[in-house]
């Protein structure tokens, strides 16, 4: 066999046509996750269905714990992780919200659990389609949060997430998110890597706690006082010190996230910007579109047309949402003129979360860029190229006029199609 033929055979062996959900499942299989506990929810369910298949076929030696709710699923994950096992689950929307109570426990105990989130909008009204509302609600609990743009990235980010989360300098849980249906149910070629190379990249977990050894650790999480406790058996930190440590580890994890991303890139030949954000045609650009996931994918199409109009425009697609990479973003945006943010979410009662967080991060710059935020695509409404183009034009126009506002601006609303909508058909008023 010639070298080229050998390479071809290797590729054929490893490239598969996979949905985003199945890409995540394959990553779990190859990461050799030990315990999985999950509850079905659309559009995530195929992740854990596939994992259950792998276990049944003997391709993954893991324990799949069936539970009655997402709250229990993450409770099982926390307990299993505390015994020193590699642990993961997957969920969407209200599943994540039901897990919410357990999320800060996982972070506070520094348990390196991985959740795959196929994003889905929150009810009411009931919807199963994508937006990033679920993803943003957990931003204040201490998890590392990644957003992906294609199925290969889902697979790669999962493998990186385990390594980052399990790093002794980190020990934090992480969530890998991707748009429901747009990625979760769309098939793309995904290169699955050689198992030996993955084992080398991702050695077995060496956990800081290991409840399976009762002679070492009797339990975790005693009532922790506001003050430091000094006893003959040893000094114990107060709650405040634990939470300081959690925050500082999150802040410093950005360096480790970059490090692991670079190591992955060297080993497997694929990279995603700097592991924090991806730049698309930003070299000569004075105007930047700032977005996440499916929205930045669509913006890639929009900037082609906008560049034909003569605009010097590029995209920054945020990959790492928490810890928020304020230093990196400040450094990147310091000599840009205009930023147009497209949020597939709302911090209800204020504005799009990406928009207001970026404004806050850039506040310390001497010369601040113009920033305008738009809301797009809630509840799976298509984010179209023309919406992004309209948004860019409108924002640039407002900047020229010196209009700056925090009020939300919705793109792609179809109120014009509601002329015959009569609510009294549905609701009787007394």
């Amino acid at each position: 066999m010639t070298a080229i033929e050998e390479k071809k055979a290797d590729l054929n062996e490893n490239i598969m046509i996979l949905t985003g959900n199945h890409a995540a499942a394959h990553a779990f299989r190859q990461a050799k996750v030990g315990v999985i506990s999950a509850y079905p929810i659309t559009p995530q369910s195929p992740v854990v269905e596939k994992i259950a298949e792998f276990i049944a076929e003997g391709k993954l030696k893991a324990r799949f714990v069936k539970v009655e709710s997402e709250h229990s699923a993450l409770a099982v994950c926390c307990a299993a992780s505390a015994t020193g096992s590699r642990v993961g689950t997957a969920t969407s929307a209200h599943g994540l919200e039901l897990m919410y109570e357990m999320l800060p426990w996982a972070a506070g105990n520094r348990l390196p659990i991985i959740i795959n989130l196929a994003t889905r909008s929150l009810g009411a009204p009931w919807s199963v389609w994508t937006d990033h509302s679920d993803f943003i609600t957990i931003r204040d609990v201490g998890w590392i949060q990644f957003m992906c743009e294609n199925n290969q990235e889902i697979y790669d980010t999962n493998l990186q997430a385990f390594k980052i989360a399990e790093d002794p300098r980190v020990y934090l849980p992480a969530i890998v998110a991707y748009d429901g249906y747009i990625l979760s149910h769309t098939m793309m070629p995904v290169k699955l890597e050689n198992q030996d190379k993955i084992d080398e990249f991702l050695p077995p977990l060496n956990h800081h706690i290991n409840l399976s050894d009762i002679s070492q650790v009797k339990g975790i999480d005693p009532v922790t006082t506001p003050h430091i406790v000094k006893r003959t058996e040893g000094t114990a930190p107060g709650y405040y010190e634990y939470r300081y440590a959690l925050q500082k580890s999150l802040e410093s994890s950005i360096d480790i996230i970059k490090e692991v991303h670079d190591e992955f890139a060297r080993k497997f030949g694929r990279s995603y910007g700097n592991g924090i954000y991806k730049k698309i045609q930003t070299e000569d650009a004075d105007t930047i579109i700032f977005a996440m996931g499916s929205v930045s994918s669509q913006a890639r199409v929009a900037i082609k047309k906008l560049r034909e109009e003569g605009l010097k425009i590029g995209i920054v697609s945020l990959k790492l949402f928490r810890p928020y990479p304020f230093k990196e973003l400040r450094e990147f945006f310091k000599d840009k003129e205009n930023i147009i943010v497209f949020d597939r979410d709302i911090g209800y009662g204020y504005e799009g979360v990406l928009s207001y967080e970026l404004k806050a991060a850039l506040y310390s710059l001497k010369e601040r860029p113009n920033i305008k935020g738009f809301i797009v695509g809630l509840g799976g409404r298509d984010v179209k190229t023309e919406h992004i183009i309209t948004g860019v034009h409108k924002a640039l126009d407002e900047f020229k006029q010196g209009i700056f506002t925090n009020e939300t601006d919705f793109l792609g609303l179809r109120l014009d199609e509601l002329s015959d909508y009569d609510e009294s058909t549905y609701f009787k008023r007394g």
């Binding site: 505390a82 506070g108 105990n109 520094r110 348990l111 002794p168 300098r169 020990y171 800081h208 706690i209 650790v217 009797k218 339990g219 975790i220 999480d221 005693p222 922790t224 006893r231 003959t232 058996e233 040893g234 114990a236 930190p237 010190e241 634990y242 300081y244 440590a245 500082k248 580890s249 410093s252």
Partner: protein, 99 residues
Amino acid sequence: MTDSKKDYQKILGSVQKPVIGEAGKTGTWSSKKPIIDLSKCTPVKSGKPSCFNCWLYCPEAVVSRTIPPQIDLEHCKGCGICMEECPVKAITMEEVKSE
């Protein structure tokens, strides 16, 4: 904290270790104290490690599994469960005199 690890990297999970008097001197809470009549106590009478219901049932783990059983009055909350459980009624609860 002298080694190269940053201070926050040394504080990870809140871990439980069994200690005496985690909640302070709980013995000061009680209004009654258990007194064991050793002439009735089964392990003392038999001279063999036996019965130990007081040790088994004490919710505060202040009774020792020894002959004779010892009660740590500094941490005994005076609940009276040992008196209730003692099969030979060797334990009585006596009033604590307030000073």
